[in-house]
């Protein structure tokens, strides 16, 4: 069996070598992928471009394939720009909510997105990155570097737990996306490697046990709005980590706990649409209505 990756090990190495976690991750990925630094960051910048375009697609107010979602990113955008004084969470987080919804809606309507780590959770990471970029004027290069940090965090979660809703529930998709986003946010705000790890641990702790219960089996309800919630969780955790707050449970152990929770989770709550919101009376009614429309012709 392949040895599990350890985020703590890499955090310790980065601190020993007196490097920021972003620089450490880049050097290590450059070796691993046998490409140069410019190529690695260039590919990450391409990802950022696609993410930005996905927001634009979402804001056109499209409707999803199943017809259950669409237009909500646009609603938040109108609310936050027309009456900023009425925002409860403030401009940065309301922007994050908008981006998460817009990309989730773009994804649900067959728009072009970057799976990060999955298509269903693709709104979370860009929501955090782009809202912070607007607040603090981070350059594209800085965001690309933060994406490398996010990717490395995701690799560790994939190795110790899972990134798939079918294997680990929504904690593995939106939870992982949020943990990756929190680590990236801490890096962007100048946190040290240990604080990056704290951001990841604190996020996952707050999202443990989240089930994957898509109505009618589609990546629409509750997936799109959960991306907004996940982005908020990432920001809450990153803020705590930057303030020097630590998780009592170390990061690798939190990831292992997520794996154990995922294994203990009933199959009905892992993307099969047999539990949770999917079997609520309204969820069932929606599914029946959609399946009546789409039943394929028998041969």
């Amino acid at each position: 069996m392949e040895e599990k990756l350890s985020l703590q090990e890499w955090i310790d190495l980065a601190e020993q070598e007196n490097k920021g976690f972003g620089d450490f991750c880049i050097e290590f990925q450059v070796k691993e992928l046998e490409i140069d630094k410019a190529t690695l960051l260039g590919r990450m910048e391409e990802m950022l471009d696609v993410m930005e375009q996905s927001v634009e697609i979402g804001l056109t107010g499209i409707t999803s394939m199943g017809g259950l979602v669409g237009g909500n990113g646009k609603k938040i955008e109108a609310y936050r720009t027309e009456s900023p004084d009425k925002s409860i969470v403030g401009s940065v987080m309301s922007k994050a909510i908008m981006i998460a919804l817009a990309i989730g809606e773009a994804n649900a309507s067959m728009g072009r997105i970057v799976a990060a780590p999955t298509a269903g959770a693709s709104g979370t990471l860009p929501a955090v990155l782009f809202s912070l970029a607007e607040a603090r004027g981070f350059s594209k290069l800085e965001l690309a570097k933060a994406l490398v940090v996010a990717g490395v965090i995701g690799m560790v979660i994939a190795s110790r737990a899972s990134l798939s809703g079918a294997a680990g529930g929504c904690q593995a998709e939106c939870g992982s996306a949020a943990a990756m986003a929190a680590g990236a946010a801490v890096e962007l705000y100048g946190g040290n490697p240990r604080q990056v790890g704290q951001g990841v641990a604190l996020t996952l702790k707050n999202m443990l046990g989240l089930v994957c219960d898509p109505v009618a089996g589609l990546v629409e309800v509750p997936c799109v709005k959960r991306n907004a919630g996940a982005a908020a969780q990432a920001m809450v955790a990153a803020e705590m980590a930057l303030a020097g707050i630590s998780s009592v449970i170390p990061v690798d152990e939190v990831i292992d706990a997520m794996a154990a929770v995922g294994n203990a989770m009933s199959c009905t709550l892992k993307e099969t649409a047999q539990g949770g919101l999917a079997v609520s009376p309204t969820g069932v009614a929606v599914a029946n209505h959609l399946f009546a429309k789409v039943e394929p012709e028998k041969k």
Partner: protein
């Protein structure tokens, strides 16, 4: 898994398994057919059959059969464009058995030059796929590596001839599997390699004794 499996792929939504994976299954089926598709009968099993329209699985499969990538923005229009190109595609539900993965599909393909093949494959999550059956041979390959697929007569040396051509071209074998239905009958072989197989090697392998058909699967 590398970092671009986590940040990426760039794809058309909404689902890595039901959309991106479906495109890749279409790509692999096309490569196995070895020529442009003229007619496709596509059987959807399990979750693919139940939720295909809501995930655009039908559009994704049709896109894959036309050789498009997972991030091609024409995917939402793939069935329309296939029709314009004179490709006949029909869908039905199939039952591939209780043991089959819920995200499975079977293609019955006819090519522009009249070749036919039947290919079964599964989308196993995160856009990763496995082809599990080709023309009633149980096989297993992912398309993660360049590969060649042979249909050959089960004779001594048939396999060695293929691998010796690869070795002279500096192509390293990563994995290989051989399947046969009966001793001395028709056999199938999948050779997954670390390097791409160039035109010259591919052509020579096709002319080897005992080889009835050879297909090349490029990285997708």
């Amino acid at each position: 898994m590398n970092i671009f499996d986590v940040i990426g792929p760039i794809m058309i939504g909404p689902s890595s398994s039901h959309t991106a994976g479906a495109v890749r299954l279409g790509n692999l089926a096309l490569a196995i057919l070895g020529e442009a598709v003229k007619e496709a009968v596509i059987g959807l099993h399990g979750s693919f059959a139940q939720t295909y329209r809501g995930h655009g699985t039908d559009l994704a499969l049709a896109a894959g059969l036309q050789g498009w990538a997972t991030d091609d923005t024409r995917i939402p229009k793939s069935l329309e464009l296939a029709k314009e190109a004179g490709i006949v595609i029909s869908f039905s539900t199939v039952n591939l058995g209780d043991l089959a993965h819920p995200n499975s599909v079977r293609f019955w393909l006819t090519g522009a030059n009249g070749n036919t093949c039947a290919v079964t494959g599964t989308s196993v999550g995160g856009g990763r796929v496995v082809v599990t059956n080709i023309d009633d041979f149980p096989v297993e390959f992912s398309g993660d590596f360049p590969a060649i697929l042979t249909m050959h007569r089960d004779r001594p040396g048939a396999i060695a001839l293929v691998t010796s051509i690869l070795s002279t071209q500096g192509v390293n074998v990563a994995q290989m599997k051989v399947f046969r239905k009966q001793k001395g009958g028709l056999a199938a072989m999948i050779v997954e390699t670390d390097q791409p197989i160039d035109d010259a090697a591919f052509e020579v392998i096709g002319k080897l004794p005992h080889i009835q058909a050879v297909r090349r699967i490029q990285l997708i």
